[in-house]
């Protein structure tokens, strides 16, 4: 099945543009400028760019949190403009920057929200919640009834991932999911997520400003700047491009890798 999915395009952007009102007489800001991009089934795509590059806007266009001005966006072959936005969002998992958990709901209620909205039975939801807690490696009995303010940042983000997976989506969109975490937690969580991605056969689009994270996690990387898509490809393909900005982005992880190798001789760690 994975092989078949591998060949189908799950998410496609074709000449998509979106501009925002600059406010109070200012010129409209072109946030996404003629972007065309395809994500295949089972693929893990990272979109890398600085702030204001339009990467978050692009992600939100996919599940119609924002409406595009022009161009076409298709999800699993269906034009998103033809879909009911609420139904569309229920079948796409979305992980928010700092979890985006509802502070007045328990961990279990947060995770079970989308199945509940879809009208699934309470007993089914409860079973699913426990299963998902296992999946994101949180102890069922310990965390089920806690509230978001009683969790650490990493635990909150794990719950955020579990919530995104609750409705068994094929597609997961992640908006800088690990950006605010400490390096150790971040490392553990991103490894765990990548394993989930492979195990569940997900199609994932992750936003990040960190090229190192993108290289380590993603199958393919798309680089954005000023609303435009500068380059896309596997890390090794990216290394071939002669775009100066892409080169600059790749220089940092290279330099870090070199220094780390020098400072941490093999066998000493």
């Amino acid at each position: 099945m994975r092989d078949r999915m591998q060949n189908t395009v799950q998410i496609a952007f074709a000449h998509v543009a979106k501009s925002f009102d600059g406010g109070r007489g200012a010129k409209p800001v072109l946030a996404v400028d003629d972007v065309s991009l395809e994500v295949r089934g089972g693929e893990f795509l990272a979109i890398v760019g600085g702030s204001g590059s339009g990467k978050t806007t692009l992600l939100r266009l996919a599940n119609r949190l924002i409406e595009a001005d022009s161009g076409h966006i298709t999800i699993e072959g269906e034009d998103v403009r033809a879909a009911d936005p609420v139904m569309l969002r229920r079948r796409i998992g979305y992980v928010f920057q700092s979890g985006g958990l509802f502070p007045h709901m328990s961990v279990a209620a947060n995770i079970g929200i989308t199945p509940k909205l879809k009208g699934e039975r309470e007993t089914d939801i409860a079973a699913k919640v426990d299963e998902l807690l296992d999946l994101v490696r949180l102890d069922r009995s310990e965390f089920r009834d806690r509230f978001p303010h009683e969790l650490s940042g990493g635990q909150r983000q794990r719950v955020g991932v579990a919530r995104a997976l609750a409705a068994r989506p094929k597609i997961v969109l992640m908006d800088e999911p690990f950006g605010a975490l400490d390096p150790l937690t971040r490392d553990a969580l991103s490894d765990d997520y990548r394993a989930l991605h492979d195990r569940l056969g997900l199609t994932t689009v992750m936003i990040t400003h960190d090229m190192t994270e993108a290289i380590l996690l993603a199958d393919r990387i798309a680089v954005m700047r000023g609303g435009r898509l500068l380059a896309q490809g596997t890390p090794s393909e990216l290394a071939q491009t002669d775009d100066a900005y892409v080169g600059e982005l790749l220089a940092t992880p290279r330099r870090q890798a070199g220094r780390l190798n020098a400072l941490l001789p093999r066998g000493s760690a």
Binding site: R90, F96, F102
Partner: protein
């Protein structure tokens, strides 16, 4: 007599179930209606800046209208609406009491609810709203399961403020005919019965405090997501409402309602009429503290069955006559005009409660002043005090014109304090009331009106249109007609202002009845 053993406490207690029950009913209805209007408006306005500003602006303006004025304004408004509905749809409704009070109080409750609901909803982090959208909530689902629950603690704080305001302001619904804890306060103020005033204030304050604390419990429970506290608070509110509703539901509804305006003489006369009705085996209650214009309309609409008014008041206020006729002619004309409205002028009680210029007797003798004409020469060096309406009434204009009166200084005063101010020399002349007992108490004299500038103010019993053919009522009232003379009424009024245990309107009414009975045997 010690304050605690004062028998008036007991009298106050006996009214508590009725007054408190009515107070809670009107407050709860007003808060519920206020919430029903404010919450959807606030929700609709939260993302519409123009509507939001308009709504909060209007609610703020309503808040600046004094509570009493707001309540009073709803009465004529509803009266007009009721007559429109009667002519258009064939049914009317009572513009008296409950309905105007609930509407005005509901309007009054809106500002804090609107403001806190909007603030609470707008205070939610945008990332949470986005996440609600992102997990696939419809706008309604987002509102119901995310926005409202998160805004609830702030909203509850607004509801608390509204509840306390409404419970406090509901005391002002007494003059428009809604029984409330304000009955204690208005009756107490008019009869200078400070025990009653204190009792009413304390009862209203305790009620507001109890409700506030219970709502605070709910609010704290919501903040801490503590279900038990929320449930306890809710149960407390429910118990309070139930406790105040049960006794009033069990109370038999009375058949005759006797109205009284807002001063001591009216309280005494209403008690007297109610006592006479009960003596004739008719059940009767009094509805006290009604505003002067409200009470007549209430009678016409059948909200009350009988009350005592004064010929001159009806002549100038209800029928808007500006001319002044001789006494009998005015009475006959009034009778005819009232009959056109199906109101029965059953008869004169036998005394007049007119406006009169009053000065200390010693001063009158020293200056040789026997009537208003004599006073005119001294007026420019004198100061005059009157109640809040006198200087804008036609009698004042007529007096000035007839005698060329021109006082050096004029002041408005609470009627109860005028006489003391005159006796102490604070003012030189007051526009007092001829039946006031304080005239005798302070050794004052009511000056004659030789030119007849002030219309006659005979106390007359009026019967509502729906009781026009009620012989039992007429028979019960008949012994009062022509039997209460000015000296008896003055003494009764003085007793009512006495400030001791015998000053309750019931006790004074009993005294007045015995007095007229003994006068009859003397004759």
């Amino acid at each position: 007599m010690s304050l605690l053993s004062d028998p008036r406490w007991g009298e106050a207690w006996t009214h508590l179930p009725d007054y408190l029950g009515s107070h809670v009913r009107v407050s709860v209805a007003a808060i519920a209606l206020g919430l029903l209007i404010s919450l959807p408006l606030a929700i609709a306005a939260r993302n519409r800046p123009v509507m939001r500003n308009l709504l909060l602006g209007v609610a703020s303006i309503v808040q600046t209208v004094p509570g009493l004025a707001l309540l009073a304004l709803f009465y004529p408004l509803l009266l007009a609406a009721a007559s429109l509905s009667l002519s258009w749809f064939g049914f009317g409704f009572s513009a008296f009491g409950f309905l105007p009070a609930v509407l005005a109080l509901a309007l009054y409750s809106m500002l804090p609810v609107l403001r806190n609901t909007i603030t609470g909803l707008r205070g939610i982090e945008p990332s949470i709203l986005e996440s609600a959208q992102g997990v696939g909530m419809t706008p309604m689902q987002s509102l119901a399961s995310v926005e409202l629950p998160l805004a609830l603690p702030v909203m509850m704080a607004g509801i608390r403020t509204a509840a306390v305001w409404v419970i406090g302001t509901a005391t002002l619904s007494t003059p428009i005919g809604q029984t409330s804890l304000g009955n204690y306060i208005f009756a107490g103020l008019q009869t200078q019965n400070w025990v009653l005033v204190l009792f009413g204030c304390a009862a209203a304050a305790l009620l507001a405090l109890a409700v506030d604390q219970l709502l605070a419990l709910i609010e704290a429970g919501l903040r801490a997501r503590h279900r038990l506290r929320v449930a306890l608070g809710g149960a407390g509110i429910a118990a309070l409402v139930a406790a105040t509703l049960v006794p009033s539901l069990a109370r038999p509804s009375s058949s005759y309602i006797v109205g009284a305006k807002t001063f001591a003489e009216q309280y005494v006369l209403a008690s007297l009429i109610a006592q006479r009705l009960r003596a004739a085996n008719l059940s009767a209650t009094t509805r006290e503290g009604l505003g002067s214009s409200v009470i007549y309309e209430a009678l016409v609409n059948g909200d009350i069955d009988v009350y005592v008014d004064y010929s001159g008041t009806l002549w100038t206020n209800q029928f808007h006559h500006t001319d002044i006729r001789p006494r009998q002619e005015l009475l006959d004309e009034l009778k005819a005009e009232l009959a056109k409205k199906n109101v029965t002028l059953f008869g004169e009680l036998g005394f007049e409660n007119s406006y009169a210029l009053v000065i200390p007797k010693r001063r009158a003798e020293a200056l040789g002043i026997r009537n208003v004409a004599d006073l005119a020469a001294f007026a420019p060096t004198m100061s005059i005090a009157a109640d809040y309406e006198f200087f804008s009434r036609p009698e004042w204009a007529a007096l000035r014109k007839a005698y060329g009166l021109n006082f050096g200084n004029q002041r408005q005063m609470q009627p109860d304090f005028m006489y003391a101010a005159l006796a102490s020399g604070e003012v030189d002349v007051i526009a007092g009331y001829t039946s006031d007992g304080l005239i005798a108490k302070y050794d004052l004299v009511a000056l004659g009106d030789p030119k007849g500038a002030i219309p006659p103010y005979d106390a007359v019993a009026l019967i509502a249109p729906k009781r026009a053919g009620d012989q039992a009522l007429r028979e019960a009232l008949r012994p009062l007609i022509g039997r209460i003379d000015i000296t008896a009424m003055r003494e009764a009024n003085l007793r009512a202002a006495g400030g001791d245990g015998d000053a309750s309107s019931d006790a004074v009414a009993r005294w007045l009845w015995e007095k007229t009975e003994s006068e009859k045997t003397k004759r």
